[in-house]
């Protein structure tokens, strides 16, 4: 599964899709494959204010627990409630139906610290 070209990426293998000042966040194909079967996602509380780099959600596979870090500072405006009953969406559709949360972005200048799809592809070449 190719990494979508219009998304941004972090070194922690999260993706960010920016739509009208909102950052939709999920984990990449590489990350879901590393984790294995996702069986639980701890979603953040609505209106939670998070700082860039702060853990604000947790994705758990049978064997592993993985923190989801805020790629930018912001306020939680939406969470993917479908993951409560169907956490496997993170495995099946990591870039689309398996999204985790949406943040209202505080400071758009933080986006320039994220990787482009080309840069993220290059990172995956190295691992």
């Amino acid at each position: 599964m190719a990494n979508p070209r219009d998304y941004l990426y972090t070194k922690d293998h999260e993706w960010v899709r920016v739509i009208d000042g909102t950052a939709r966040i999920g984990i990449t194909e590489y990350a879901q494959n590393e984790l294995g079967d996702v069986v639980f996602v701890e979603l953040p509380a609505p209106e939670l204010i998070v700082e860039e780099g702060e853990g604000f959600a947790v994705v758990e596979s049978v064997k592993a627990v993985s923190d989801i870090y805020a790629p930018v500072s912001g306020t939680v405006k939406a969470v993917n409630e479908a993951l409560e009953d169907s956490p496997e969406l993170v495995n099946e559709s990591p870039f689309d139906e398996g999204w985790i949360a949406e943040l209202e972005i505080n400071d758009e200048s933080q986006l320039k610290d994220l990787m482009t799809a080309d840069e993220y592809d290059a990172l995956l070449e190295e691992v």
């Binding site: 294995g36 079967d37 069986v39 639980f40 701890e42 947790v58 758990e60 596979s61 049978v62 064997k63 627990v65 409560e84």
Partner: protein, 360 residues
């Protein structure tokens, strides 16, 4: 890292490999959950060649073993298998063993992480006239587990295993290969464990994969082995039991023979007379989440009453399950307790017995 004779096969089959106590072992081939359910519904094949095997022989082998284990090896006859904790003088568990009675001694299967420790411990307690051999390197171990296991081994070895009872074993020669097959396992399903020489295991593995395929059998990694044993409420050494836990605390009193003398018996006797302060108890989470090893167990007022030793999502139940040492009286089945998972306290009910029953 150490390899089993099958490591290269696992890699070629696309297994994800992990470091398991210094052994390069498959964690899963396809998906942990898929492999888990395959064993519950059909059958699975495991490479367990990392496990250790020790052999005790000589006139005093029985007396040596009797003193070291809490169970009673004296009633064991050739062809029979016994589970027992290996004890220290403090009543703690050095390891848990599966012991095969042979014509002239005993064959003990030990946990991979404990081979050197167990060998040293037994050697330090050998009676004159007992010989101890570590045959781990020459001995490979496979397991085939699941409701289809018997059908598959019957076809594979051209032999009817229907009359091989639980905790019984047969030795025979198949196609020039010496095979030891026992009706034992670590999944809660019917199944077999198969010992062959390290040199012959590739032939047997490939043959079993081929014979099992029409029955839906798949190779299974250590990831599903752990969730299968947890659903069957079987303790794992190093997590649920260790040198600081006694067989009584761990719920292994079925493997304590009070009419024999063994290391640490005085400690167990005292515990039996005074009552246990804590017991290993199972629990099922009543809300979404997963308890992990090390999480604190709380009572309804938020006071700590125990610690989780194993925890996972149960692939069969689709709920969080676990084991932990819980103070009396909260260990009693059906008690409402809470597990601290990050900043949440998840409600759980303590549970007696297996979480999931085998199909046969």
């Amino acid at each position: 890292m150490k390899n089993t004779p099958l490591t290269e096969q696992h890699r070629q089959q696309g297994a994800r490999m992990m470091n398991f106590h210094g052994w390069e072992m498959p964690v899963h081939y396809t998906s942990l959950v898929e492999e888990h359910l395959c064993v519950r519904e059909k059958a699975g094949l495991f490479d367990l060649s990392h496990m250790g095997e020790l052999r005790l022989s000589g006139d005093t082998a029985l007396a040596t073993l009797d003193r070291l284990i809490s169970n009673d090896p004296s009633k064991l006859e050739p062809g029979q298998v016994l589970y027992s904790p290996l004890m220290n003088e403090r009543g703690g568990i050095v390891d848990d063993l599966v012991i095969y009675r042979e014509g002239d001694g005993f064959f003990a299967v030990v946990n991979a992480a404990n081979v050197e420790k167990d060998e040293r411990w037994i050697r330090d307690h050998l009676l004159p006239g007992t010989t101890l051999e570590n045959i781990s390197a020459d001995t490979a171990l496979l397991a085939i587990q699941g409701p289809e296991a018997e059908t598959i081994v019957n076809t594979a070895f051209a032999c009817d295993h229907g009359s091989l009872g639980n905790f019984r074993y047969w030795d025979y020669v198949w196609n020039g290969i010496r095979v030891r097959i026992s009706r034992t396992g670590y999944t809660g399903e019917d199944g077999f464990e198969i010992y062959v020489s390290a040199g012959a295991v590739q032939t047997v593995w490939n043959m079993l994969l081929k014979e099992g395929q029409p029955h839906g059998m798949q190779p299974i990694g250590l990831g599903a082995r752990d969730t299968l044993r947890l659903e069957a409420r079987l303790p794992l050494y190093g997590q649920d039991i260790d040198e600081s836990t006694t067989p009584l605390e761990a719920g292994l009193s079925f493997a304590v023979a009070w009419d024999t003398e063994f290391l640490g018996k005085a400690v167990l006797t005292k515990q039996r007379e005074e009552g246990l302060g804590r017991r290993l108890a199972g629990f099922i989470l009543q809300e979404r989440g997963i308890a992990r090893s090390g999480c604190t167990i709380l009572d309804g007022q938020g006071s700590p009453i125990g610690t989780v030793t194993s925890g996972s999502m149960s692939p069969s139940l689709q709920k969080g399950i676990g084991l932990g040492y819980i103070q009396r009286p909260w260990n009693k089945a059906g008690t409402e307790v809470y597990v601290q998972v990050r900043n949440r306290q998840l409600k759980a009910l303590t549970h007696k017995g297996r979480f999931v029953q085998g199909k046969k």
